[in-house]
Amino acid sequence: MQAITEALSSVGYIATRQISTALYLAHHLRKPVLIEGPAGVGKTELAVSAAQCLGFPLLRLQCYEGLDDAKALYEWKYGKQLLYTQILKDKIGQIISAEDSLKEAFGKLGGFQDVFFSREFLEPRPLLQAMEQPAGSVLLIDEVDKSEEAFEALLLEVLADYQVTVPEIGTIKAQVPPLVILTSNNTRELGDALKRRCLHLHIGFPDARLERDIVRARVPGLSDKLLGQMVAFVQALREENIRKPPSVAEAVDWARTLLLLHAEALDETLVRETLNVLIKRESDVQALEDRMLPLTKSAVDAGGRPV
């Protein structure tokens, strides 16, 4: 577990104990991990980082309403299949012309394998691709809650047995089971069947110490003083009664902004001018109008103290 944490931090992902435990178990129990949590806390990033430090290719399947098996599993190369039938029509006369009776002709036809539905005409989509990677892979199924229930049912076979069944061909089993990571923003409750097959990891907002580490890893070059102040400010902002609290991703963006502006320390005008990086809703900005000064002040105070 320690090794996982270190490997992840070497590619710039600061993992909590929970996160590395989940990855460790996912690897050893051969189970997919379902990650839930608010937007922008690094759910997707975890999969990217895991793929990076394992050296596996990352296959990403972005879910949306209307996603079906043709886009997720496999698709027949329709055009090629059409061409094939055209050729077949032309050739079929030649092939069976030598035979005398209908029975013999039919017997000869049966001798040919059925190529129409064969691997050659199969177009693999992310799920099938992940199964076919010879060295293993990281399969990221992003925002699975955006898809429909029917798609969840489709995933069950893939997640439980790491295999895809194509009725015309048979079952394609993964040689090396991929590391599967599913993310969900909880826009709807996922089915129990899916949850049961997965390990469940909930990533919430990090505490101040962790957030400092994350921002430092992502935005090198920020002075310690400013880092402390801005993290304290973001943390305090999450306590405020606003509709969309700033996430880690937004904190990182803000840190970049501050670095770009060569800011030395937080003050009220600076915060006001750059607040639109952190807060994305007009109503929230207005709600915070009066709170700006005290928040900045306490953040500046808190930033001075070591965490």
């Binding site: 577990m1 049961r196 997965c198």
Partner: protein, 456 residues
């Protein structure tokens, strides 16, 4: 090892974490992988394997801490030294009976409240399990299980010896009796602590479950404030069940309408001779509900639970408009959305609750301002007793509403026998309702809402 895990999973299930057998197997594999050595790692691992939502995770963490309780180190030590003093004093009398000596040793090994050496605790826990303490359901059973566990430990011999000594009436016998009595009390304290822990793990959730079952089937008007948090949890669970049930089946196959494009593709292999037919399907609309609740005194308890229900259902119901009335109609959607439920409800009852009920006026205002909210896809959910204080019933408006809407469902709070008596207009409204259900308990409400959603 396995038994410890089984007990833990059982305690989790009782506490409301739905861990399936498959997950229990995963937990066993996890245990084999992680081991008992690193407590924090085990806790994190079980949290990932067994708990599948944020609430379940917090339940899991509490139960884990209770179940795999670590003896408080410093406290245990001081008690042990104290116990050592006791045992050095208690070493002198040789009872000559190995069984009693063993008990004395145990009492000496353990300290006051639930602490004690590992061996002693293990022994007590084993005895408690043998005594069936895992089956404990109510707190009042504690004494019974304490006595049974003491029996298992073989306290009988010690008691007999104690009585014999007391009867002897000699100073050294009295001294020995004192030591025996002390040991017995100390043992009893330890056993009681062990049983209490089991009650927390197994009994309390079971009791809670029992109380909820009772409350769900109690008439809504009689549910007191003490039951409210429990009811809220129960309603949330019911709503979740309904949501799961009704969020499926959103495509209806239209048998007979051919999907030409898909059919052509599906049959490309047969030179587009249509063997397999693909039919078009239609998406099922999510329910749109307009709830109109009477909030006058007699009906307010029902309204509270109905609104609680509808609002917990919000992800299965896309469009929900909520109106309450006693004499005039008010849109309370905004209030319910903005404030926590209890506060919103309290404010609604305070501001709009009083006054004589007037159904006619409510319908008039609905027509005046919100008529456009009701269309062919809307189910109007009426809740009330239909008693309108002899004001005009405005049947014509009600009929028009029934025509506009998909259907009107009335949740009646009065028994059918009383409809139409006195100022009740129930029988007049009845012909225009697609369905009228008599709702007394929260379980009735669940059934009624289920039927409403089912009809889509």
């Amino acid at each position: 090892m396995e038994r410890a895990l089984n007990g833990f999973i059982r305690a989790l299930r009782l506490a409301g974490v739905e861990a399936s057998t498959a997950e229990a197997i995963d937990a066993a594999r996890t245990l084999a992988l992680v081991g008992y050595d690193d407590r924090e790692a085990l806790r994190a691992s079980f949290g990932v394997v067994l708990a599948k939502s944020e609430t379940e995770k917090s339940i899991h963490d509490t139960v884990f801490d209770q179940y795999f309780a670590r003896p408080a180190e410093p406290a245990g030590k001081s008690q042990e030294t104290e116990a050592e003093e006791n045992s050095s004093a208690g070493d002198s009398p040789e009872t000559g009976d190995p069984e009693i000596d063993g008990l004395l040793g145990m009492a000496a090994g353990g300290g006051g409240d639930g602490g004690g050496s590992d061996a002693t605790r293990a022994q007590i826990n084993r005895a408690a399990t043998e005594a069936g303490a895992d089956e404990i359901r109510f707190q009042s059973q504690t004494s019974y299980y304490v006595a049974r566990t003491m029996d298992r430990l073989g306290i009988g011999a010690l008691e007999a010896r104690l009585i014999e000594l007391l009867n002897r009436n000699r100073p050294e016998a009295q001294a020995e009796a004192q030591i025996l009595a002390d040991a017995r009390d100390r043992l009893r304290r330890m056993v009681r602590a062990a049983i209490d822990r089991r009650y927390e793990l197994y009994g309390r959730p079971a009791t809670e479950q029992f109380m909820t079952d009772v409350a769900v089937n109690k008439a809504m008007a009689q549910i007191g404030t003490s039951d409210l948090p429990r009811m809220k949890a129960a309603v949330a669970r019911m709503a979740k069940r309904l949501a799961v049930k009704h969020s499926r089946r959103q495509r209806i196959k239209l048998n007979g309408q051919l999907d030409v494009r898909r059919t052509l593709r599906a049959n490309a292999g047969r030179d587009s001779v249509p063997f397999d037919l693909v039919f078009r399907y239609k998406r099922r609309d999510k329910p749109r509900i307009v709830a109109v609740c009477d909030v006058s005194g007699s009906v307010s308890a029902h309204a509270r639970f109905l609104l609680l229900f509808l609002h917990t259902l919000h992800h299965a119901v896309t469009d929900l408009a909520t109106f309450v009335f006693s004499n005039t109609l008010h849109d309370v959607e905004d209030l319910l959305e903005r404030l926590p439920f209890e506060q919103a409800m309290a404010q609604i009852l305070r501001d709009y609750g009083g006054g004589g009920t007037d159904y006619g006026a409510a319908f008039a205002k609905l027509e005046d301002e919100y008529w456009d909210d009701i269309d062919k896809r809307t189910t109007v959910l009426m809740l009330g007793d239909g008693r309108s204080n002899y004001t005009p019933a405005r049947i014509e408006l009600f009929r028009e509403m029934a025509d506009r809407a998909k259907r009107i469902v009335w949740l009646a709070t009065e028994a059918p026998g009383r409809w139409g008596t006195g100022d009740s207009y129930m029988l007049k409204y009845l012909p225009y309702c697609a369905q009228v259900s008599h709702c007394v308990t929260v379980a009735d409400l669940e059934r009624a809402v289920d039927e409403v959603l089912e009809a889509y």
